[in-house]
């Protein structure tokens, strides 16, 4: 998480529909990997991967590559909203 906001940072908000916690919100540099945001969001929502589920970020209805940068997802936008998804690995 950034402690010092820069002018080109992106305001990131992550929601998780089945959590008792409110949204995770923080500012990230455009070079930050989505996987970094995912990790911080999972800490915020107090969830962990296990053999049945993994957690991913979704943006605009699609899973997000954890190796993508926040800047590449946001493009020109200054704010970005993700949803944390609980991805079922069995079935």
């Amino acid at each position: 998480m950034n402690t010092e906001q820069r002018s080109d940072d992106v305001q990131v908000k992550v929601t998780f529909p089945i959590s008792q916690h409110g949204p995770f919100q923080s500012d990230f540099s455009r070079e930050t990997l989505a996987g970094t945001v995912l990790g911080e969001a999972m800490t915020h929502f107090e969830v962990q991967n296990d053999p049945s589920f993994t957690y991913e970020l979704a943006h605009d209805g699609h899973e997000v590559d954890p190796n993508a940068t926040i800047g590449s997802i946001a493009e020109q936008a200054r704010a970005l909203q993700f949803t944390l998804i609980k991805k079922i690995t069995q079935g």
Binding site: P17, I18, S19, S52, A58, I88, G91
Partner: protein
């Protein structure tokens, strides 16, 4: 099936976010008792869903609640709103969506928990916090957008 007043109120609180999500992805949410006659069931929703990469394909999911948010819903695909629930071609080909047995074998619906009793405990247990209705439909929409392989035969 009718639902208790608490469930009905909880669903009415959560359904606007579900409806907004579906509209955002070219779909629609109908509640059965709002379809224009007096035979409808307030426990039943019809979610019109479209895959991102095949927007011309329309799927109708019948989502029936029993005690919301405490129990998972039954999810079946129909040939249309109030259509047949026993037509395999109404189902999408997505991992875990089993057209041949008309069920979704995932820990997010009644059918999945009936098949796998062990899912009732631990991380696979049905979530009762937040907006489980939104979680179910969002999970299905992600499946349609990223894991859709076509229409079942």
């Amino acid at each position: 099936m009718t639902i208790d007043k608490e469930s009905r109120l909880n669903l009415e609180t959560d359904e606007p976010e579900v409806a907004a999500l579906l509209v955002e992805h070219g779909g629609l949410l109908d509640r059965d008792d709002r379809l224009g006659d007096e035979t409808g069931d307030a426990a039943v929703y019809w979610a019109t869903m479209r895959p991102h990469w095949a927007p011309g394909e329309t799927y109708i999911a019948r989502i029936e609640w029993f005690a919301y948010p405490y129990e998972p819903p039954s999810i079946k695909f129909a040939t249309g709103v109030r259509g047949s629930l026993s037509v395999t071609s109404a189902w999408p080909v997505i991992t875990g969506y089993r057209a041949a047995s008309f069920d979704i074998c995932k820990p997010m619906c009644r059918e999945g928990y009936v098949t796998h009793l062990e899912w009732k405990e631990g991380s696979t247990a049905w979530p009762t916090q937040g907006n489980p209705f939104l979680w179910v439909v969002f999970t299905m929409q992600i499946d349609f957008n990223d894991n859709y392989q076509g229409r079942a035969a």
